[in-house]
Amino acid sequence: KVTFEGHQVLRILPKDEAQLSLIKNLEEMIEFQVDIWMGVTDVSNPVDVRVPFQSLQFVKIYLEAQNIDYTIMIEDLQVVLDEEQEEMEAAARLAQ
């Protein structure tokens, strides 16, 4: 089973077209294996990106260096997934 310990989902808030294309570049950097949850649309809409733990530092440095604002939407994805799984199993036990 693939697990996501330490993966974070960043909500990136592009200020202008230049920043939008910088974020698009990030998508193309396959080596950092970012997973686009909500893609680049236009300046008024955020971009949500799941970033594996091993790429986090680079991605945050990349964004901060370009003065691109972001917030952390999900601190640790695996924690949220574990909660979802526990809830499903508890409900299934209840049904049993």
Partner: protein, 309 residues
């Protein structure tokens, strides 16, 4: 659960639980619901479509699908709730009763079964199909880039490792080809609604070109009415518009193909959430999401019923 009345719609279910729900619903409602298997997935799972019909032959029809992107779990869960809602409301809700007395509704709840099973067994973040790509270590094709509409254009990837990999050719995925063949053989679909999550949008063609759809004005006005009805329940705010103008360029998309087949009322929903949980929407939001979405679906189905073409 021994019957669909005791099925727990407020939690996420596995593929086998959803398949047995479908069979129970058919058994409980033999005069309204039947199950059609329109094909099988790469790994051999049946592609089940529930048909809601009160008779007639080849009546004008409405198509709804959920779960084409497997990780978007609130969509399969909502589709299950929609199925029960239809059988509960038929004969009670005048609008739905009128629709079903003249039209059929087809509902494919698990449109990407291999991907959905994989999200339960191996990778909760999986989006695509599961067919291996020759020459690549990455499996799967994005089933919402594999349709023969602007196929291969900008807005899809030629890299098998990309989440938006379009596939080796249009309709290469059995999960897509099965719907294509079914829609073509039926020949009388009047509305086609493909449901995704997340980002709270209601979208209409096109995604692969900036050329406006010829019915753009009508589609736009209907979308506005639909999201207004949706928001009336819990205040959930949606954006709406054509795919390319509202989100981004996307080629080989489902509803671009259905619209080009002449199915005027072709829409894509992007359900909750707004950016707190993303694809991991808490189960306690399943029923509210399904309830509010149903109001928008009814707006589209009513309009389709009242505007035959």
């Amino acid at each position: 659960p021994r019957n669909t009345d005791s099925f727990d719609f407020s939690r996420y279910h596995t593929i086998s639980e959803i398949y047995s729900f479908q069979d129970m619903l058919v058994a409980e409602n033999p005069n309204l619901v039947s199950k059609i298997v329109i094909g099988s997935s790469y790994e051999g799972r049946p592609l089940n479509v529930l048909k809601f019909s009160t008779g007639g032959t080849n009546r004008p029809a409405i198509w709804i699908d959920t779960g084409i992107h497997s990780r978007e779990w609130v969509t399969q869960a909502s589709g299950t709730w929609f199925a029960k809602k239809i059988v509960t409301d038929y004969g009670r809700d005048p609008a739905l009763t009128a629709i079903l007395n003249k039209m059929d509704i087809f509902l494919e709840i698990v449109t990407n079964p291999d991907g959905f099973a994989y999200t339960h067994s191996s990778n909760r973040m999986w989006r695509k199909t599961r067919k291996p790509n020759p020459g690549s270590s990455c499996a799967g094709v994005d089933p919402n880039r594999n349709w023969d509409s602007g196929f291969g254009g900008p807005g899809a990837s030629s890299n098998p490792c990309s989440e938006t990999y379009r596939g080796p050719r249009a309709h290469s995925e059995s999960e897509v080809k099965s719907i294509v063949d079914f829609v073509k053989s039926h020949g009388n679909f009047k509305a086609f609604i493909s449901i995704h999550s997340y980002s709270q949008m209601l979208l209409y063609p096109f995604g692969y070109t900036k050329t406006p759809a010829k019915d753009q004005a009508e589609l736009h006005n209907l979308a506005q009415r639909a999201i207004t009805d949706l928001a009336s329940l819990y205040g959930t705010r949606y954006r709406y518009g054509s795919i390319i103008n509202t989100i981004y360029q996307a080629s080989g998309g489902t509803i671009d193909w259905t619209y080009e087949q002449g199915i005027k009322y072709s829409y894509t929903f992007e359900l909750r959430d707004t950016g707190r949980y993303g694809f991991i929407l808490p189960a306690n939001q399943i029923i509210p999401t399904a309830q509010e979405t149903w109001l928008a679906l009814m707006a589209i189905m009513n309009h389709t019923y009242n505007n035959p073409y």
